[in-house]
Symmetry: C2
Subunit: 205 residues, 2 copies
């Protein structure tokens, strides 16, 4: 393996092991020794890649943001509504939070009062939900009595709740939890003619 | 002031100042010196009351649980439904989270991975919501298509989300945020004949 390729792999391993440690112990408690041991590298090698624990946490947040963008950037099936897209991406986010330690750790780091608010994954998620809801409004997809701000409040509030509760009990991030929530929300959210078309369990995209 | 009364007041002040410090800085970063300085007592006086930072955090969680119980224990107006009671208490919780640092810090401590799960305020809240939803089901208050588990998921998920998001942006805990969420939820949740009676903004109880 070329030297550069090895360095890239070591960096990726360190970010993954840091995410696992931050996710399990929290940023403040996590030690660099735990991370380097878990990654199977020396402390010196860790410091070659990352000057400090804060720099390592920044890297975790950066990778988490890329992964969140990959989730929100996924296309929905041709011709499906913006509300179906919102449903699909909400399922995509909770599915990734369940399986992807880097994304989960990134969300936690973003909300940690001991860290400067730098990447703000929850803020990025809120901004994305606001955009999709605005597009749904423009296309007449919302129920006439539904307030767009209410839709954003409900989806962002509940997903952040699932994220936080899921850290101690993974069932909060399971598809059936999210489906149940969306089944209650959609009748008030979607225009009547659209409601029966939208699948609360997602289209699997 | 009698010596015993002074000791009780000092203890209360220490718990309040600890809650403020934990709420602002997180449990791990918070120092006992910051807390004793803010409380205007010596380190020795602090250690007379609390053997460790963990003991102080336990005391904050205990007081927070008492206050949560006071919120969930409030009666609703005579003759009002269980769903109206759920709405009223949800508003009561977010209102207290906005104004009561001890309750807010208690919720954070309960969810902190650096602390043993001892009091579990979020779990207590979930248990209470489950009880009220079960009573609403028994009285035929739920919409025939609403799943009781969905109601619990939505209310607990969203309120925990509001709690966490509210730590950085207080508008998530404002009454209008909670009202907007409940306005979207109630049409799917409540039996049709009950829906028009329930006030999403609460009865002010």
């Amino acid at each position: 393996m070329a030297k550069q390729e090895r360095a890239v792999r070591t960096r990726e391993t360190l970010i993954r092991c840091a995410a696992e440690t931050f996710d399990r112990e929290g940023f403040t408690v996590a030690s660099l020794t735990t991370i380097s041991t878990q990654a199977g590298v020396s402390n010196g090698a860790l410091h070659f890649h990352f000057a400090s624990k804060a720099a390592l946490a920044d890297a975790v947040e950066d990778v988490a943001l890329l992964r969140l963008r990959a989730v929100t950037g996924k296309a929905s099936p041709d011709g499906s509504s913006h509300l179906q897209h919102l449903v699909d991406v909400t399922h995509g986010l909770t599915r990734e939070l369940l399986g992807d330690t880097v994304l989960r750790a990134g969300f936690k780091l973003s909300g940690d009062p001991a860290r400067p608010c730098r990447t703000d994954l929850r803020g990025y998620w809120q901004g994305w939900v606001e955009q999709v809801v605005a597009r749904a409004v423009a296309e007449g997809e919302l129920h006439p009595e539904a307030a767009p701000e209410g839709a954003v409040t409900a989806v962002v509030g509940a997903t952040v709740g699932f994220e936080v509760l899921g850290a101690q009990d993974a069932s909060w991030l399971e598809p059936r939890t999210v489906t149940r929530f969306l089944e209650l929300l959609l009748p008030s959210l979607a225009a009547q003619e659209l409601r029966k078309e939208i699948r609360a369990e997602g289209t699997g995209q």
